[in-house]
């Protein structure tokens, strides 16, 4: 019996963001008194690193280059492994690919599913109790899952991954697959920066910037601490910034450790995507800006003065 964690790969490596669900899976496995196993599909040079973060073994299904990411084949792989290993809970990342795949797998296994879980679960006999944020972060819902097999997707930045474990043993498995029903024609990724949904530090700016040419001060600040940049919706809509930076109800929902909001008023639709951030800093010249109510630290002032000063202060810290 096991807790099975689906570890996503990119560029032939387990993604950094997949170490967190592995650590979470281990904590859950310990609670249940079962083993924590990671499953990796495709090539991962760092497969044994799954052990450092808590996996007791790794199941490696190397399908070669013949299968694109598609739910049918990936779910077939995960379901076969789950059945063979007697998985009780399967944990996915709450990521673009994790979400859809989790729902597909849960259906095939008649498993109850809760997605976007954001705290450690409790186990009561056959029942798993988990929580997630609902209604744009205005409440948490507490769920019971009572199926034989349970599926959850884990929201990012829920626990701190701890790399104190030992490298895991790797078991190879072969699974026969059908030809995929979709072909990837092209892939475009922003290189060099951590994608927003996975970012721990985010620097975000809004209409208070006045002009896209002013974004150099935002980029300087972000670079100083290795943060990912984000923006409010009107900024993306008017083409000042690319759409993938748009956070909020209709954009990306994030929960970084630090969210610095610069020249953003803090409309409820914006807050809906960011108010699960651990620490929020707001820089705004209007004392009535609603964002201050959602902030941990506020700076009342002109962003064009404050932001460069903050960057300087951070540089001092770095050196």
């Amino acid at each position: 019996m096991s807790v099975l964690v689906f570890a996503e790969t990119q560029n032939n490596k387990i993604k950094k963001s997949s170490f967190e669900p592995i650590g979470y899976g281990r904590k859950l496995a310990d609670l249940m008194g079962v083993e924590c196993q990671a499953i990796i599909v495709g090539t991962a040079e760092n497969a044994s690193d799954a052990g450092l973060y808590g996996a007791q073994s790794v199941i490696h299904v190397n399908h070669g280059a013949s299968v694109n990411f598609d739910c049918i084949n990936y779910s077939k792989i995960i379901c076969s492994v789950a059945k063979e290993k007697g998985a009780k809970v399967i944990v996915f990342s709450h990521s673009s690919s994790g979400k859809g795949l989790a729902a597909y797998v849960a259906t095939k296994l008649s498993a109850g599913i809760v997605s976007g879980v954001n705290s450690l679960p409790t186990v009561e006999g056959q029942v798993l109790k988990v929580s997630k944020s609902v209604f744009s972060g205005k409440a948490s819902a507490n769920f019971s899952i009572d199926s034989e097999i349970k599926v959850i997707t884990l929201a990012g930045n829920t626990i701190k991954p701890d790399s104190g474990g030992t490298p895991a043993t790797i078991e190879q498995m072969e699974i026969v697959l059908d030809a995929p029903k979709m072909n990837v024609l092209s892939t475009k990724r922003q290189e060099g920066t951590v994608p927003l949904p996975e970012a721990e530090l985010v620097v975000s700016a809004g209409r208070g910037m006045k002009d896209p040419a002013n974004w150099n001060i935002i980029e300087d600040l972000a670079k100083t601490i290795g943060a990912t940049t984000a923006c409010s919706r009107p900024v993306a809509d008017t083409g000042w910034r690319p759409h993938h930076e748009h956070v909020g109800q209709t954009g990306v929902a994030i929960r970084p450790n630090l969210y610095i909001a610069i020249g953003i008023s803090g409309a409820i639709q914006h807050l809906a995507g960011v108010n699960n951030s651990k620490t929020i800093v707001v820089i705004n010249k209007d004392p009535e800006a609603p964002f201050f109510k959602a902030a941990d630290y506020g700076v009342l002032g002109d962003l064009f003065d404050v932001v460069p000063r903050l960057t300087e202060a951070l540089k001092k810290l770095e050196s």
Binding site: S97, Y104, G112, S136, A139, A141, F143, L185, A295, Y297
Partner: protein, 246 residues
């Protein structure tokens, strides 16, 4: 082309959220409901555009009680041809998906559209479930979908980027931002909607494995700590020593 669009009803983001019966039930009193934006702005409009370009029909489906008819009428006013409502208050995403899959299984839809997620529970579950139940391929978070001969080209959001794929119908797709431009229903659409067919269908029985025990309200923030704009060293110190985030 025969297209199905799954539409849902959610509280408006600005709605005040509270709970009753010892925090076990959502308080619907005075809550303003809307059609889920991903369903209305992107999934529905793109389906209508495809129909306008290539001919065919757009059916909208909702799993819910009669009080949902108002959002169904809106979908018809925007341009759907007919509607189906499965008459039950779903208990979980699995319930919703089972009802939709059961209806769609012998209807030969070319594409089944859903929204990326509902904005109240952010499940992003229903689409993948329908696909699994019908053994169809599933394309998540599409921001572009075009017909390309007898197949389709779809651009979807992946972690930190986008991916373009080629796929043949039938398939299930969930709609993300960018798939279409929002349409506002006009007077003629609203009048025509009144005469469009709406079929009410009884639900099938679905085993449920997920229940909400109760809700908790978030712990209030301690209140904002204001920092002197001249003293950014102090902010950096607090972020390092108090918040421990840098």
């Amino acid at each position: 082309m025969k297209l199905l669009v799954c539409i849902s009803k959610t509280p408006d983001t600005t709605a005040k959220i509270s709970f009753v019966e010892n925090n076990t039930a959502f308080n619907t009193d005075g809550v303003q409901y809307i059609m889920n934006p991903y369903d209305e702005w992107y999934a529905l409009v793109r389906a209508i555009e495809l129909k306008e370009a290539a001919g065919g029909t757009v059916t909208v489906i909702n799993v819910g009680p009669a009080s949902n008819d108002i959002v169904i009428r809106k979908a018809l006013a925007i341009g759907a041809d007919d509607a189906v409502r499965i008459d039950t208050d779903p208990t979980s995403s699995m319930d919703t998906a089972s009802q939709i899959a059961n209806y769609a299984k012998d209807q030969n839809f070319d594409i089944i559209f859903t929204g990326k997620e509902t904005i109240d529970y952010n499940g992003a579950e229903v689409a993948g479930m329908i696909a699994a139940m019908l053994d169809l391929p599933f394309v998540s978070f599409a921001s572009k979908l075009d017909q390309d001969g007898d197949s389709f080209k779809v651009t979807r959001d992946i972690e930190g980027g986008i991916e373009e794929i080629g796929i043949q119908g039938p398939f299930v797709v969930s709609a993300a931002k960018g798939l279409a431009e929002q349409r506002i229903p006009n007077m003629r659409g609203i009048m025509m909607a009144k005469r469009k067919p709406m079929n009410i269908i009884p639900p099938v029985t679905v085993e449920n494995h997920v229940t909400v025990d109760d809700y908790t309200l978030p712990v209030e923030k301690a209140g904002v700590k204001m920092i002197d704009p001249e003293n950014m060293d102090e902010l950096v110190r607090l972020l390092k020593e108090e918040a421990k985030v840098i």
